[in-house]
C-alpha cells in the first residue's frame, strides 16, 4: 500500500521539481511571493463553512497575527536546535527580553517613546547580547548538560522579572505600552487595538525579513559551519571552524529572532508581565520545531502555525463541538458519572502535545517537513552499511 503512494506522484514530482528549482534560484522572491500568497489566502478562511462559525474575520486575523509571533520564535529556535544542534530549553527567556526591551523603550513606565520600528532592532540586539551571555558559559557543555543550563536560564528571566518589582512592577506587569505608528501610511497613524489588519501585515513583514536573512545564512559559509558542528563538533574544529564563535553566533541569531517576536508581542498586547514567559512557551516552541521538521525553515513555520491554531482554536472548538452533541452523562461503575460533553480540551493541551510528540517520534522522527539532511540522518539503511564498514576496519586492524 505504501508502494502505490510512493509511485503515483511521479508526474506531480516533476512539476514540484520544476517549481523547486525555480524557487531555489530566486530564494528571496520565493519567500516574498510565498508569504504574500499565504498572507492573502489565510484571512479567507473566515468564509469557509466550519471555520466561519468560529469567529469573525477580525478574530481570525488577530489570531493569525499572534500565530505569527510563534512562527518567529520557532524559526529562531530552529537556528539553535535545527541548524547548530544545540538543545535550548530556555528559549522563552529571549522572548521575554525582547518584550521587556519594548516595555522599557516605549511605555508610560519609563516615559520613553521610542518608535516601534527602532525598538524592533533594539529588541533584536538586546536579545542577541543576552543570547551570547547565555551561550558563553554553556559552550563546553553538550547535549543534556546544555539543555539543563538553558532550562535554568529560561526560568531565571521570568523569576527576576517577577521579583525585581521596582524595575518590572512584578506580577502587575508593565502596562501602557505604546502602539506602533505607521505615520499615515495607508491612512493609519497609531495601530488600533480593534483592527487586527495592520498587526497582521506587520508580522508578515517581519517574518518575511527573518526568512530571507535565515535562508541566506543557512546557504553560506556560516550555515555549513553550523551543520558541520551539529554533525561532528570535533571534526568541525579539526577542519578549521572556530566552534566557539560559530555556536555563539547561533545563539545570538536565534535569540535576536525571538527578540523581534517579543517586541511585536508586547506592542500588540500593550502589557508585559512575567507569567507570559514561562517554561511552557519554551516547550511549545521546541515542540513546534520538532513537529515541523528541524532544520527546515518553512517546515518549522508551518509546524508553529498549525500547533498555535490547534492550541488556540482547535481545542476550544473541539470542546464546543462535543458540548453541542449533547452527549448524555454516562454512569460507569467504578468511575461514577462520566460527562464527555463537559471535557475542557484546553486543560488537556499538554497531554495532547505529549501524545502528538510520541506519535511523531515513532512514525516520523524527522518531523512533518524534514530538511533534506535530517532525512538522511534518520535513514536506517545507511546506518547499517556504515556499521558494517566500521566492522571491516576493525577486523583488518585486528588481523
Amino acid at each position: 500500500m505504501t508502494d502505490t503512494r510512493r509511485q503515483s506522484p511521479s508526474g506531480l514530482r516533476a512539476v514540484t521539481g520544476r517549481i523547486g528549482s525555480i524557487a531555489g534560484h530566486h530564494q528571496s522572491l520565493t519567500i516574498l511571493v510565498g508569504l504574500a500568497l499565504v498572507g492573502a489566502l489565510l484571512p479567507l478562511i473566515s468564509a469557509v463553512p466550519p471555520f466561519s462559525g468560529f469567529g469573525t474575520q477580525k478574530d481570525w486575523v488577530g489570531g493569525f497575527a499572534d500565530a505569527g509571533v510563534f512562527v518567529l520564535l520557532a524559526v529562531g529556535l530552529n537556528v539553535v536546535v535545527g541548524f547548530a544542534g544545540l538543545l535550548d530549553l530556555g528559549y522563552a527567556a529571549f522572548f521575554a527580553i525582547g518584550a521587556y526591551t519594548y516595555a522599557y523603550g516605549a511605555s508610560t513606565f519609563t516615559g520613553l517613546q521610542t518608535p516601534f520600528w527602532i525598538m524592533l532592532v533594539a529588541g533584536a540586539v538586546v536579545a542577541a547580547v543576552f543570547g551570547i551571555t547565555l551561550g558563553a558559559p554553556t559552550l563546553r557543555l553538550r547535549g543534556d548538560y546544555l539543555a539543563i543550563v538553558t532550562l535554568g536560564f529560561g526560568e531565571i528571566v521570568p523569576v527576576v522579572a517577577l521579583n525585581a518589582d521596582t524595575y518590572t512592577r512584578g506580577t502587575n506587569g508593565i502596562v501602557g505600552l505604546a502602539q506602533p505608528n505607521a505615520y499615515g501610511l495607508f491612512g493609519i497613524t497609531s495601530f488600533p487595538i480593534t483592527n487586527p489588519w495592520p498587526w497582521y501585515i506587520t508580522v508578515l513583514g517581519i517574518i518575511a525579513i527573518a526568512f530571507m536573512i535565515l535562508y541566506r545564512l543557512e546557504d553560506s559559509r556560516l550555515g555549513r559551519a553550523w551543520v558541520a558542528i551539529r554533525e561532528d563538533e570535533l571534526a568541525a574544529a579539526s577542519m578549521g571552524i572556530n566552534t566557539i564563535s560559530t555556536k555563539l553566533l547561533a545563539f545570538a541569531i536565534g535569540a535576536s529572532t525571538s527578540g523581534l517576536g517579543g517586541v511585536f508581542y508586547a506592542a500588540k498586547l500593550g502589557v508585559v508581565d512575567p507569567t507570559q514567559f514561562h517554561f511552557d512557551v519554551s516547550f511549545t516552541v521546541l515542540a513546534m520545531v520538532v513537529l515541523g521538521g528541524m532544520g527546515n525553515i518553512w517546515g518549522v513555520a508551518v509546524g508553529a502555525f498549525v500547533i498555535f491554531e490547534i492550541q488556540h482554536q482547535g481545542l476550544k472548538q473541539l470542546g464546543a463541538f462535543i458540548q453541542s452533541l449533547n452527549v448524555p452523562v454516562f454512569q460507569v461503575p467504578v468511575l461514577g458519572s462520566v460527562d464527555l460533553g463537559g471535557i475542557n480540551f484546553l486543560k488537556f493541551q499538554f497531554l495532547l502535545y505529549g501524545l502528538a510528540l510520541v506519535a511523531m517520534m515513532l512514525l516520523r522522527p524527522e518531523g512533518l517537513f524534514p530538511s533534506r539532511q535530517r532525512r538522511h540522518e534518520l535513514h536506517e539503511v545507511a546506518e547499517e552499511s556504515e556499521e558494517a564498514a566500521e566492522d571491516t576496519s576493525e577486523a583488518v586492524k585486528g588481523a
Binding site: D219, R224, A228, S238, M239, G240, N242, H376, A382
Partner: protein, 335 residues
C-alpha cells in the same frame, strides 16, 4: 637526510600525554622535514593517534611543546593567569578615570557614559578571549602570554588531518564536506551572506569550483552531490583527504588512510600520497599499519612503542632494528 637546508616544518620536543595513570605518549622528540613523507608506525595502542591529536591541538600535552612552521603553537600555557587581568584592567582604569572626572565635574551623564564604555570594553574583551581570533592570540604572545593552540588555530597555521575512524559530515554532500574544509580560508562574514555581497558570490563560486577540483584530484569526480554517508568506504577515505586538502595545508596528517582497503585500493591510495607530495608539494606525516605502504612511500620512519620512540631512520634501517622486531614480535619480519 641529505638536505638540511630547510628547517623542519614540525618540531615536537619532549611531548608526553598521560591519561590518568596511563602514559600514552612518553617524552617523544620528533621532527618532520619539509617536503618529505614521514611514517609513524608501532603496534596497536603504541600512542600514535594520541601523538597526532596532540599535534593537531586536540589534546593538551602533559609535558613538552610543538612548534609548527617555526612558531611555538602547543605547550602548557604560560602566564595565562595574566590574561583575565589584561581584559579586566583597562576597562577598570577607564571606569575609574571617568568616575573621578565625572565627580569633579559633578555630571551624572558623564559617569553613565564611562560606565557604559567600560562595560562594552569588558564584554568585547571577554568575547575576544573566548572566541580567540588569530590576531588576539598574536597580541597575547606579544604581551608574553602563551595559550596552547586549538585545533582550528592549527588548521589556520597550515595543518590538515584525517581521522583513523572516518569522521565525515555524514549528511552533507561530498562537495559541501570539501567546502567545510575551506572554511578557514574563506573571508566572507555573515553580513556578506545576508546582503549577498559580491565577496560572498565570488567566494562561493570559487569554493564550488575548488571543491570540484579537489574531488577530482582524489578520484571522486562526478560524486559531488552524493551524500557522504552513501559513499563507498574507500571513497569516504578519499573524501576525508580531499576535505583536508581543501584547507590548503602545508603538513598533512593521515591516520591509517588505507585501513580496511583491499590491495588494489591500497595501491591507488599510495599513488595518491606520491601525487600529493610531488604535485602539491605537501609534507605528509602518515600513520600506517600496512608495511608495504610504509616501505613504499616513506622517506623516513619513526617507530613508537608503549608511547616511546624506539627507532627512527629509513625504512631499511628501521626494518633491521632489533628493538622494532621485538616490539612487533615478528610482525615486521613477516611484512
Amino acid at each position: 637526510m641529505t638536505d638540511n637546508a630547510k628547517p623542519p616544518i614540525l618540531v615536537a620536543k619532549g611531548v608526553s600525554k598521560h591519561f590518568g595513570g596511563l602514559v600514552a605518549v612518553n617524552s617523544v622528540d620528533f621532527d618532520v622535514p619539509q617536503g618529505k613523507i614521514v611514517s609513524l608506525i608501532g603496534p596497536n595502542g603504541a600512542g600514535k593517534t594520541t601523538f597526532f591529536n596532540i599535534i593537531a591541538g586536540l589534546y593538551e600535552p602533559t609535558h613538552g611543546s610543538v612548534s609548527f612552521t617555526g612558531v611555538e603553537m602547543i605547550a602548557r600555557g604560560r602566564r595565562s593567569w595574566a590574561e583575565p587581568l589584561a581584559w579586566v584592567v583597562p576597562p577598570l582604569i577607564i571606569a575609574l578615570i571617568g568616575l573621578i572626572v565625572a565627580t569633579a565635574a559633578s555630571s551624572t551623564a558623564l559617569a553613565a557614559v564611562t560606565i557604559l564604555v567600560s562595560l562594552i570594553l569588558l564584554i568585547s574583551a571577554f568575547l575576544l578571549a573566548i572566541a580567540r581570533p588569530p590576531f588576539y592570540l598574536r597580541l597575547l604572545t606579544r604581551l608574553g602570554i602563551f595559550r596552547s593552540a586549538r585545533p582550528n588555530d592549527m588548521v589556520v597555521a597550515g595543518l590538515g588531518r584525517t581521522f583513523q575512524n572516518i569522521r565525515l559530515f555524514k549528511t552533507m554532500t561530498a562537495r559541501d564536506n570539501v567546502m567545510v574544509g575551506m572554511h578557514s580560508r574563506m573571508r566572507s562574514t555573515p553580513v556578506d551572506a545576508v546582503l549577498r555581497s559580491r565577496r560572498h558570490y565570488r567566494e562561493e563560486k570559487d569554493a564550488d569550483a575548488k571543491a570540484r577540483r579537489w574531488l577530482a584530484f582524489v578520484g571522486l569526480a562526478g560524486k559531488e552531490n552524493e551524500v557522504a554517508r552513501n559513499l563507498a568506504y574507500g571513497d569516504q577515505r578519499r573524501l576525508e583527504i580531499a576535505r583536508a586538502l581543501a584547507s590548503e595545508p602545508k603538513l598533512l596528517l593521515l591516520d591509517e588512510p588505507t585501513a580496511g582497503m583491499n590491495p588494489s585500493e591500497t595501491a591507488e591510495m599510495t599513488t595518491l600520497f606520491g601525487r600529493i607530495r610531488t604535485e602539491l608539494g605537501l609534507t605528509i606525516l602518515l600513520i600506517e599499519h600496512d608495511m608495504r605502504v610504509v616501505m613504499g612511500v616513506s622517506d623516513r620512519v619513526t617507530v613508537l612503542d608503549h608511547g616511546e620512540k624506539i627507532a627512527e631512520g629509513t625504512s631499511q634501517e628501521v626494518r633491521a632494528n632489533p628493538r622494532v622486531i621485538e616490539a612487533y614480535l615478528g610482525k615486521a619480519a613477516r611484512a
